[in-house]
Symmetry: C2
Subunit: 257 residues, 2 copies
């Protein structure tokens, strides 16, 4: 719940997502799902067109019921923003108003900074068909515009909430890119990798693959380079050694059966 | 079109978006819309469940018909990837495979770099209900995972395509945050702003608002600070001067009518 004392909204659910006159309950449900994906839980609805609550919203929320259950209804945009301190209005087109226009990334950073200072923030989204009225935008501190394909920039409202929420979430999320590896293995040491090189090159000398002594150094270098690039695990080096052994044994022995 | 010569896919449409066994035509349509939002136009479908093409996909694409019209059908994931050089597989959960796991931002940067070198790239997305099979993931060079709320991370497939496409688009989009301003005005010069200060302070001296000489300096400072922070335009300074004049005149004159 955003709290019964509306003069001090909870900041735990991130900035309030304020939908002005949303038309389709399905879209409200998809917004709730996108919000919870991004850790946002405070949803405010200004004069939704259909009855509220609505079954189609629940179906579209795919389990984000807690966001819908806590949603608050308001009779005007001003009422929905009254207890907030800082509001960003999401628009797709220029508004001929003097106002800061922020990218989602910069807006998210600004929202994070403010909320760390207990400044209650909200993000305003317009009705599906035509976005926010200029009178709504005028109530906000800044405009948020998503830079997308200018030839095809119309975003579904839930898509728009997702992009803004994603930037909000990743503004402090520290998940780095990484190398995934099963728990029961570890990267091969270079000594283990060099053992594979030696085994392979000895067998290639034996079978004649490296018989051209002029090209041998560059062929060896290329093989080593390729196998190094794979960043093998200890298990994978053992597998490759088994592969080499099996190929050699299969060649030496008569085929079974 | 991705080109009839499949051995050299066009790179103009960005990385190919490859959907493996998509179930709902509506989702394919929403994917097409999200793709075109992000300037992506190469769509490949591996064994879609419903007939293709499909009216429901067209309806959900909201005008992104050119992406649907150019979509190519494939009988297997391997066939859909055959003419590509670098493939990233999008997954929501860990796969117990040794493989780089990239954030969307890092994946987008890597895709941009590769495509600038004419390396044909693709991004693999799994079926709605359960994502990609491990056999599909094994065909990719890297895994892409979107860092979102770990307690509620299930994304609609079109949402997933949008986030990845958004990072692709913004990886080179240079749109900065900015101050929007109507074309027929300009920021006020400091001289114009100081003129407003002087007018206001003179009137406040006259009406007695600043009569306490001890607090006068800090009150003046606070007023100037507040008005400075608004980054007024030249038009707005003139408006404010008119507001001050009107308030004063209204006080001096008897009310009209």
């Amino acid at each position: 719940m955003a709290g019964t004392d509306r003069s001090r909204p909870s900041l735990e659910g991130g900035p309030a997502i304020v939908l002005v006159e949303p038309q389709l309950p399905e879209n409200i449900g998809m917004v709730a799902r996108a919000m919870l994906n991004c850790g946002l839980t405070t949803l405010r609805l200004v004069r939704p067109r259909e009855a509220w609550p609505h079954d189609k919203a629940v179906a579209a929320a795919s389990g984000a019921d807690r966001v819908l259950d806590a949603a608050q209804l308001f009779g005007s945009t001003a009422a929905a923003l009254a207890d907030l301190d800082y509001v960003v209005a999401t628009t797709a087109r220029p508004r001929y108003m003097t106002k800061p226009v922020l990218t989602p990334r910069d807006a998210a950073a600004g929202l994070r900074t403010r909320m760390q200072q207990s400044i209650a923030a909200g993000i305003l989204f317009g009705r599906e068909a035509r976005g926010l009225e200029n009178d709504d935008v005028a109530l906000a501190d800044a405009i948020l515009q998503v830079p997308l394909n200018p030839a095809f920039s119309s975003l579904n409202i839930a898509m728009s909430v997702l992009l803004v929420g994603y930037e909000w979430f990743t503004a402090t999320d520290a998940t780095p890119s990484a190398l995934a590896m099963p728990k029961d293995t570890r990267p091969a040491t270079k000594a283990e990798l060099f053992g594979l090189f030696e085994q392979l090159e000895a067998e290639l000398d034996t079978c004649g693959f490296l018989r051209n002594l002029q090209s041998r150094p560059s062929m060896v270098r290329n093989l080593r380079n390729m196998l190094s690039r794979a960043e093998m695990t200890e298990q994978e080096v053992r597998t490759m050694r088994g592969v080499v052994t099996c190929l050699v044994e299969g060649r030496r022995k008569p085929p079974a059966g």
